[in-house]
C-alpha cells in the first residue's frame, strides 16, 4: 500500500515561503510526476513527503496514518537521488543490502532479495565492486536496487536520470516504467523534463512557485490545460500564445495553438509571415515564423521534411477546433 495525502502542507525556510499551503492526493499504485520550472519547489515537496524536511504546517498521511512527525526511516518510503548517493565505502552488494541490514532481516532472505534485484537490474556481475568502479548508468541501477529490495510503500525519485546521457536516459526511462508496471507500487517522480513526465506519468502535477497549477493525466494537460502556464509548459515545442486582435476575435485575451495544430501553405492562410529559423529533423520540420501579430515567433511543426527555409513567406491557419482560449487572468475559457 502506498497512498499519500498532503493536507494544507506548507514549507517555509525562515521567512521565505517556498510552498504555500497545498493539498494533494496520491493514490496507491499511481505513477505521479512533479514537473515545473527550476526552483519551483519540486524537490522540496518530495523531501517533505520523504521526511527529510520538516513541514512548517499541515499534515502528511501515508496510508491514512499521520506521518507528519515520523522520521524518514519510519515512513516505509524509498528514495532515489539525483546524485545516486551510494555508499562509496561499500560494495554494490553491501549497498543494496544496507536497508535490509537496518531492518534486521535474516541473512537468507537478504541474499534472496539481493540476488533477485541484481538479476532484474543486470547487476549480478558487479555485486563485488565499489560504486567508484561503475558507470553512471550502473550506479543509477544500484540506487534503484537499493530502493526496491525493501519493498517500500512508495518510491520517491528526484531527477534520477538527469546525470545520464540522452541515450541512456531513454533506456532507463523505460526500465523505470516497466518496473512500475511490474511492482505496481506508488512512485513519485520529480523531473523538469516534460518528455519524461508525459511518457511515464499516470498523473502529472504541474508546480509553479510552490503552487499546484494543475493535476491531471498527461493527455488531460495536453488537451485541456487549466491556464496559460500549464499550456505553455506542457508540450514540446511550446504552445504558441497569441495576444491582441487575433485573440479578441475569439473573445479571449490570449489564444493558444500548439505547433502541431497549425496548417501551413505557401499561397493562402489566416496569418502571413516569414520563416526565421527552420529546423529540419527529418521526421519533423520546425519552422519559427515571424510577422504574425501578437506572437513572435510562431512555431509550426510539420510532419516529414518540407523544403521551406529562412526567408520564405508562408501562410498559417490554426485549426479552429484546437484553439485554446484564456481570459485576462490567464485562466482557460471553455
Amino acid at each position: 500500500m502506498g497512498r499519500i495525502q498532503l493536507k494544507q502542507v506548507k514549507k517555509a525556510f525562515g521567512d521565505v515561503v517556498v510552498i504555500p499551503p497545498l493539498d494533494l492526493e496520491i493514490v496507491d499504485g499511481e505513477f505521479v510526476v512533479f514537473v515545473g520550472p527550476s526552483g519551483c519547489g519540486k524537490s522540496t515537496l518530495l523531501r517533505l513527503i520523504a521526511g527529510l524536511e520538516d513541514t512548517t504546517s499541515g499534515v502528511i498521511e501515508i496510508d491514512g496514518e499521520d506521518a507528519t512527525a515520523l522520521p524518514p526511516a519510519k515512513r516505509r518510503l524509498a528514495m532515489v537521488f539525483q546524485s545516486y548517493a551510494l555508499y562509496p565505502h561499500m560494495t554494490v552488494r553491501k549497498n543494496i543490502a544496507f536497508p535490509l541490514r537496518m531492518a534486521k532481516m535474516d541473512q537468507a532472505e537478504q541474499d534472496r532479495r539481493i540476488e533477485a534485484a541484481a538479476k532484474a537490474l543486470n547487476l549480478t556481475d558487479y555485486l563485488h565492486r565499489r560504486p567508484g568502479q561503475l558507470s553512471g548508468g550502473q550506479r543509477q541501477r544500484v540506487a534503484i536496487g537499493r530502493a526496491i529490495v525493501r519493498e517500500p510503500a512508495a518510491f520517491l525519485f528526484d531527477e534520477p536520470l538527469s546525470n545520464l546521457d540522452a541515450a541512456l536516459r531513454v533506456g532507463m526511462r523505460m526500465e523505470i516504467s516497466e518496473l512500475h508496471k511490474k511492482l505496481k507500487t506508488t512512485m513519485v517522480y520529480v523531473t523538469h523534463d516534460q518528455v519524461e513526465a508525459m511518457t511515464m506519468a499516470d498523473k502529472i502535477v504541474v508546480l509553479q512557485a510552490g503552487v499546484i497549477e494543475q493535476v491531471g493525466s498527461p493527455l488531460d494537460l495536453y488537451h485541456t490545460p487549466r491556464n496559460k502556464f500549464v499550456a505553455g509548459f506542457i508540450g514540446s515545442p511550446r504552445m504558441n500564445l497569441v495576444e491582441g486582435t487575433e485573440a479578441a476575435k475569439h473573445n479571449a485575451t490570449t489564444i493558444g495553438v500548439r505547433p502541431e495544430h497549425i496548417d501551413i501553405s505557401t499561397t493562402e492562410g489566416l496569418w502571413q509571415g516569414t520563416v526565421g529559423v527552420a529546423e529540419h529533423l527529418g521526421s519533423d520540420t520546425f519552422l519559427h515564423v515571424h510577422g504574425v501579430p501578437g506572437c513572435d515567433p510562431v512555431t509550426v511543426r510539420i510532419a516529414g521534411d518540407v523544403a521551406l527555409n529562412h526567408g520564405d513567406t508562408v501562410h498559417l491557419t490554426p485549426r479552429a477546433d484546437q484553439i485554446h482560449k484564456f481570459d485576462a487572468q490567464g485562466l482557460r475559457i471553455s
Binding site: 520523504a50 522520521p71 526511516a73 537521488f81 562509496p88 537496518m102
Partner: protein
Amino acid sequence: MARAVTSQRKALNTVVAWSIGLLIFFPILWTILTSFKSEAEAIANPPVFMFFDWTLENYSVVLERSNYMRFLTNSVIIAGGSTLLGVLIAVPAAWSMAFVPSRRTKDILLWMLSTKMLPAVGVLYPIYLLCIRLGVLDNRAALVVILMLINLPIIVWMLYTYFREIPGEILEAARMDGATLKDEILYVLTPMAIPGIASTLLLNFILAWNEAFWTLNLTSVDAAPLTAFIASYSSPEGLFFAKLSAASTMAIAPILILGWFSQKQLVRGLTFGAVK
C-alpha cells in the same frame, strides 16, 4: 608547456626541500647526537659534530636514576586517553555542525577556536585550585580530561572540515534506508571519514604527547608523563646536557617513530583537509 617541470628544476626543488628539512630537524639531530657524548664533550667549544667517543653511559645513568617506563606509561595513557575521549565527543559535535548547521554554527566554531588563543597560564590558577578542591592533582584521569578539553576545539574543527566534504545526500540516503542516527554515524559517516578521523587522532595524540604546560603544572609523581621526565634533568646547578639530551631523546623517540610511519596521514591532518 609553460608549466613543464624540467629534471634540473626537480633536482633543485629536492635540494631546497632537503635543506629546509634538515635545518628544521637540526635541533633534534643535535639533541640525539649530544645524548651519545660525554658531559665534557657536550659543552665542548668549538662543538664537536660527529667525531667524538660515542657512549651509552648517559642512557644507563638516566634509566638507573628514573623510572622511564612509568613516565612512558603515563604519557601513553594521558595522550591516548585524551585523544580517544576527544574524538568520541567531537564526532557527534562535528556531525551536527556539518550536517544540521544553524545560523550560529560558524560563530560557535570560531568561538571554540578562540579559546586556543588565550594563553594557558591565564586559566592556570582556577584550574589548579579546582584540581586541589576535587583532590585530583597529580591524577592521570584528571589530566586525560583536561588535555581532552584543551585539544577539543582543534579536534572538532578538524572533523568538521572533513565531514563537510561528505555529501549530505549520502547521509539522507541512509536515513531513508532506515538507519537511526547511531547507525548513520556508525556505518556511513565514520567509515567514510576514516582518513580524516585517523589524521585527527594522530595529530592530537602528538599534541597531547608534547603538551608540557599542564602536565608539568598539575603532576608531580604518580601522573607525571615524559615531559616531566625531561624537565627533571634540566637542573640549573651542574652540567647535565648529555643526560638531558638522553632523556629528551627517549621522550621523543616513540612519537618520532609514530610520526615517521604515518607521514601521509599527518600531512593531511596538518593541512586541515585542504589537500586531498
